[in-house]
């Protein structure tokens, strides 16, 4: 008996042992479910198991940073900066890093579709031949002046193509717009430069060479113009000179991310930035001696200090800093320009630069050089021009509207009723990659490739003193059934025949690109030379663009910019509320980030809030109103109201309410839709002298709702605000 038992035991043990071994060895029959596919034909520049790197250009904003994409077996894996690219020197911002999530995103428009009715989700997939035919029909069935193009600020090659097409066929000139250009007040800046220096262009600020930076609301570390290059220049200002660390003063009513890096953050009353700049100019001019320039003669620093709620000592101290500095620089930007007197502010601040004689010098202001294949500076449409455009749409002037790369339904203030005006347009064709709010209002969506699947180039407008045209090439084959808009237009133009076909006599987008770029082959100063156009284009893609080697600092044409009046008017504010409303662009979401989950989950640098919209409010104000953290309040302006949770932000003036722009989508994919609110709903159609939206020129009231909604914060409230270790 015992013998039998032991045999049973043996069997039992053996069975258990075998089963355990099977589990533990990780033999995983799962290997049987995996299939491996060899290359049909191995690309010759590929090596098995090795990553391939492609140079291209980032399309998350219009700055035009050069990227190097790591790809592996046909998939794009990682965004890295192009170290040779003069704009970003191998660096990227968070949005650039996340551009892969725009490429591999489940919510993309996968096929060309016809929408059942505007605004509805139900669509009918089409094939590309029909789609191209639709575009061709739209081009031929309407009079040229009934056709309009609305385009985003990127990419430039498509804009050039459409411009050529429009010019040749007599269509309306394409108009470009973007939320960033609206909140950057680009038009204001370039017009101020023109009026002061006598030459239009985008001023560039050489922070890296300066030792004292006085910024008036410029959020150059966040989204302003070219954040990567300005961040690099900021670092150079701080530590570039081993002997002296640059000093940075920021005038802003709220401590933005940029202001948080300032040595001195001087909160002033919104709308008084121009006055403060003029007062500083007067104090500096007086300290320097000599005759007082006309530009600064009209202000009284003491009055300005009172109006701006800043002590006169502070102003004198800043003036002293400027006077004793070697290369001081003053930077206007952000909310300072988004006032009813934005252009005056810009002029006053630029005049300050003229006063310290840094225009065109290292560490000073210069006009950004034009791109190599560009003859004049084209700024994107200001909000005023957009309003005119919308009015024309509403009046039925346009029968066909092509939209590419921009989402005006979301970005433009509700008071400029883009969505409503679309009803005046018979046919709306969108080339959106993503089903955004505007694509939802279009009759057809013919999806363009995502930026990483596209050819193209982007002109670098500002941020470097070199002339740069940044090249883009597809790093992966298109993931979905999309087609390059340039290809669609070229094909449609061929179908349409006549002038259209004559203007675009190209086989495809690449040929068009060659025609635009290979003209640079002859330039002697270029970053590379090539004996023939084919080699040139190969280099162009390989290096990620073309740029000239030497610096081109365009300095002012006007010899004496200070001999003029700058009216130091205070800004007007619209609305009956008691709080200044200050929208700012979320650094991580900006125009195009909201559909990318990684960007949604990036904490805001100053508040560390993720995934949602918050309302910044000074704790004092909140105490008066009986509001606590995470209470939902209603912000009401003359033109709209939004509800969001409150963040008690200690570094904001008590009379200012701030809100980030970037959330509040009603479409644009599962990660963006229904999340947060859009502060541009609160903005009225108020413009500054240059036609830019006076986005910071609104006053609002705050109403409690009694609701509470927890904000997702990276920080712990307890350690940061409540039980703080000393």
């Amino acid at each position: 008996m015992s013998q039998q038992f032991s045999r049973r035991d043996f069997l039992k043990l053996a069975g258990l042992g075998a089963a355990t071994t099977a589990v533990l060895t990780g033999c995983g029959p799962s290997s049987r479910y995996v299939k491996r596919e060899p290359y049909q034909q191995m690309p010759e520049y590929n090596a098995i198991g090795q990553s391939t790197y492609y140079a291209t250009t980032c399309r998350e904003c219009a700055a035009g940073c050069g990227l190097i994409l790591r790809t592996f077996q046909g998939r794009a894996l990682k965004v890295e900066g192009n170290a040779n690219h003069p704009l970003n020197l191998g660096k990227t911002c968070a949005r650039g890093q996340a551009t892969l999530q725009g490429l591999y995103n489940p919510d993309r428009v996968t096929d060309p579709v016809k929408r059942a009715s505007r605004g509805s989700d139900s669509t009918q997939p089409m094939d590309w031949d029909t789609a191209v035919q639709t575009v061709a029909d739209a081009l031929t069935n309407y009079k040229p002046n009934e056709i309009a193009f609305l385009m985003g600020t990127a990419p430039d090659h498509l804009f050039d193509l459409v411009t050529d097409l429009a010019n040749a066929a007599g269509m309306n000139a394409p108009i470009r717009f973007g939320a960033l250009s609206m909140f950057e007040a680009r038009a204001t800046l370039s017009k101020a430069a023109e009026s002061l220096f006598g030459q239009a262009g985008m001023p560039s600020f050489d922070l890296g060479g300066a030792d004292v930076v006085v910024s008036f609301g410029a959020n150059f570390l966040e989204t302003w113009l070219s954040p990567v290059s300005y961040t690099r220049e900021y670092a150079r200002m701080r530590r570039g000179n081993p002997k002296q660390r640059g000093y940075f003063i920021q005038f802003e009513s709220r401590m933005s991310q940029t202001a948080s890096k300032a040595d001195e953050w001087i909160p002033l009353r919104p709308g008084t930035e121009g006055l403060v700049a003029l007062a500083l100019g007067r104090l500096v001019a007086e300290a320097k001696g000599g005759s007082l320039p006309r530009a600064f003669s009209g202000v009284d620093p003491a009055e300005v200090a009172a109006a701006a709620d800043v002590s006169l000592e502070t102003l004198e101290h800043v003036a002293h800093m400027i006077v004793s500095a070697h290369t001081p620089i003053a930077v206007p930007g952000g909310s300072a320009l988004g006032q009813s007197n934005g252009q005056t502010v810009a002029e006053a601040v630029l005049a300050l630069n003229a006063l310290v004689e840094n225009v065109g010098k290292s560490g000073g202001v210069f006009l950004s050089p034009l791109s190599p294949n560009q003859d004049a500076y084209h700024q994107p449409a200001s909000a005023k021009e957009m309003q005119d455009f919308v009015n024309q749409m509403a009046s039925g002037k346009f029968k066909v509207l092509f939209i590419h790369g921009v989402n005006p339904v979301f970005e433009l203030p509700k008071s400029i009723d883009f969505k409503g005006a679309l009803s005046g347009v018979e046919q709306v064709i969108s080339f959106a990659t993503f089903p955004d709010e505007t694509a939802l209002e279009a009759d057809y969506v013919f999806p363009d490739h995502q930026g990483l699947e596209s050819w193209g180039y982007q002109r670098v407008v500002t941020g470097t003193s070199q002339q740069v045209i940044s090249g883009a090439q597809p790093v992966v084959t298109p993931y979905f059934n999309t087609r390059a808009t340039a290809d669609v237009l070229i094909a449609a133009a061929q179908l349409a025949g006549g002038k259209f076909a004559a203007t675009l006599p190209f086989k495809d987008e690449v040929e068009f690109l060659n025609s635009k770029v290979s003209a640079l082959m002859g330039e002697a100063d270029g970053s590379f030379t090539a004996p023939d156009p084919v080699t040139f284009m190969a280099y162009f893609q390989q290096y990620g663009g073309w740029w000239n080697k030497s610096d081109v600092r365009v300095s002012a044409g006007n010899s004496n910019p200070l001999n003029r009046n700058i009216a130091g008017i205070e800004a007007d504010f619209v609305g009956s509320g008691e709080y200044f409303f200050l929208p700012f662009v979320s650094p991580s979401l900006a125009e195009t980030g909201a559909n990318k989950p990684t960007l949604q989950e990036l904490p805001d640098p100053t508040t560390t809030v993720m995934w949602n919209t918050w309302i910044e409010m000074n704790p004092e104000t909140a105490k008066e109103l009986g509001i606590e953290n995470d209470d939902v309040v209603k912000v009401v302006s003359d033109t709209g109201e939004v509800e969001a949770s409150v963040y008690l932000y200690p570094a904001i003036r008590p009379d200012v309410i701030a809100m980030p722009f970037g959330q509040g989508h009603t479409a644009y994919g599962q990660f963006a839709a229904g999340r947060g609110v859009n502060p541009s709903d609160l903005l009225g159609a108020h413009f500054n002298e240059a036609g830019d939206l006076a986005f910071a020129g609104t006053k609002v009231t705050i109403q409690k709702t009694g609701k509470k909604r927890q904000l997702s914060r990276k920080e712990g409230l307890i350690g940061v605000y409540e039980f703080r270790p000393e």
């Binding site: 920080e715 712990g716 307890i718 350690g719 940061v720």
Partner: protein, 476 residues
């Protein structure tokens, strides 16, 4: 302790009391007593099954399903987060190990010190040890992110050259708990043998088979008794250091970590005392429950036993208070900023009431009730105090673990802990404990009948003669 050890050594001081109040002085025939115990084990009314059913459902849902859900979805369904990586699971571990302490303490220490009044309730306490440890082990496993790999903590020889890390306090914990579980189960089993033999002779059917196996063929010969007594004495002495070490090691999980509020040298004895504090209280509760639900147990469990436990509770409570304030004052005086912040946070943070409740339950309640002999001898009052003390001790662990983890050296990360599925699992564990206890009450005699009889006989002997005849246990 010596005064406790001889409650009957000075009977004349309490002459006004009815001597029959003491179990040892109120003997019944052996056969009758055996019958009483067997009857209590056999006779089960519908209320018992209703309660068992409810508990079983609770265990199946709150423990079984909830745990499945936890494993399937990951620990995200629990409330743990960054920085509170350890939540209620670990609170439960420490709590149940604490509960399990009293069983051994009462049984082994009182056996070693020959305290007569221990006799009827050692079994109940020892059973608590074993079942408490089962709960503790379950809690540890529930806490793990990948419980299906928990066998990696065991030193299994393998060809990968990987061992568990014996530097890790968790490893010591693992070892200590398994040792303690093994020892305490054996220590539970040894005194059970004569009772199993007794039950074997008085039952039929499957019970007979069961008791036959468990009784190990014990027949009560002189040699068997001798061996059994030797074994029990050996175990009683040996298990005491094991018991102390286990909870000391549990405290090292915390004391060895470099966290503010945890890295304290007093944690070893402090945790042992804390364990006894909650364990004593739990014994009081269990005795009250047994006495009020089991047939005939009012005979075995009497106010005098509650009196003994009540005195122990008071003593332990005072010791606990001493250690607690020792642990409190040293960092307060020492001046480490993080330690101080933790104290401030516990007292003034959003969970301040937990801190005050803990002090109330652990100090005010025992000190205000247990000094009075009459109150001590009131079973329900003692049981209520026991419940409060257990609440207090649970909160004490809650303050140490989740609240302590909130405060670390990176203030940016400080965040509150909101329990999730842990609550259900904790309820399920309590239900499992009760269920195990109730089922055990149907199969094993919860009164060590032979020990009671042994004591009574010794006292009978003593009463017959006029001369001072020493008690049996003093003879040993």
């Amino acid at each position: 302790m010596t005064s406790l050890a001889k409650p009957l050594a000075r009977p004349h001081a309490e002459e006004h009391e009815d001597p029959r109040e003491h179990l040892m002085h109120d003997p019944l025939p052996r056969g009758k007593m055996n019958e009483m115990v067997m009857e209590a084990m056999h006779e089960t009314n519908w209320k018992f099954w209703v309660v068992t059913g409810i508990l079983a459902v609770l265990v199946a849902t709150c423990l079984g399903y909830a745990w499945y859900y936890l494993i399937d979805k990951g620990l995200g369904v629990a409330g743990v987060n960054m920085p509170v990586f350890w939540g209620i699971f670990l609170v439960d571990v420490v709590f149940w190990i604490g509960i399990s302490h009293a069983g051994t303490f009462i049984s082994a220490i009182l056996r070693v010190l020959k305290v007569e009044s221990r006799r009827p309730f050692t079994r109940a306490a020892e059973l608590m040890t074993t079942f408490g440890l089962v709960q503790a082990a379950i809690s540890v496993f529930m806490h793990m992110g990948r419980v299906w790999l928990s066998y990696w903590m065991a030193p299994i020889p393998n060809e990968r050259m990987i061992w568990p890390d014996f530097h890790s306090p968790l490893m010591w914990d693992f070892m200590a708990i398994s040792t303690y579980l093994l020892c305490s189960t054996m220590y539970l089993f040894l005194p059970l043998i004569p009772d199993m033999a007794m039950a074997r002779d008085r039952s039929t059917g499957w019970r007979k088979t069961l008791y036959k196996i468990l009784g190990l063929g014990f027949r009560g010969t002189e040699g068997e008794w001798k061996n059994l007594t030797t074994a029990m004495n050996l175990f009683a002495f040996a298990i005491i250091p094991v018991m102390f070490s286990v909870h000391t090691i549990v405290s090292w999980d915390f004391a060895m970590a470099s966290r503010p509020g945890w890295s304290s040298t007093v944690f070893g004895p402090y945790f042992v005392i804390g364990a006894l504090h909650s364990g004593m209280a739990a014994v009081a509760i269990v005795l009250f429950l047994l006495r009020s639900t089991m047939k005939h147990y009012k005979y075995f469990i009497r106010p005098e036993h509650f009196d003994t436990i009540g005195m122990l509770m008071l003593l332990v409570s005072m010791a606990w208070a001493y250690f607690y304030f020792n642990d409190y004052i040293v960092p307060w005086y020492g001046g480490d900023v993080w330690d101080k912040l933790f104290q401030e946070w516990a007292e003034k943070g959003p969970l301040w009431y937990l801190w005050y409740t803990m002090l109330f339950c652990n100090i005010v309640v025992p000190w205000s009730i247990l000094w009075n002999k009459k109150w001590r001898r009131t079973p329900w009052l003692l049981a209520s105090a026991g419940i409060l003390i257990n609440v207090g001790m649970w909160l004490e662990r809650y303050i140490i673990i989740p609240e302590g983890l909130t405060i670390n050296r990176m203030p940016f990360t400080w965040r509150l802990y909101i329990p999730g599925v842990e609550i259900a699992l904790t309820v399920g564990m309590f239900a499992l404990f009760l269920l195990l206890y109730m089922l055990a009450s149907r199969v094993i005699p919860l009164i060590p009948v032979w020990e009671v009889q042994e004591g009574q006989e010794a006292h009978l002997l003593r009463k017959i003669g006029k001369a001072e005849i020493p008690t049996l246990s003093e003879l040993e």
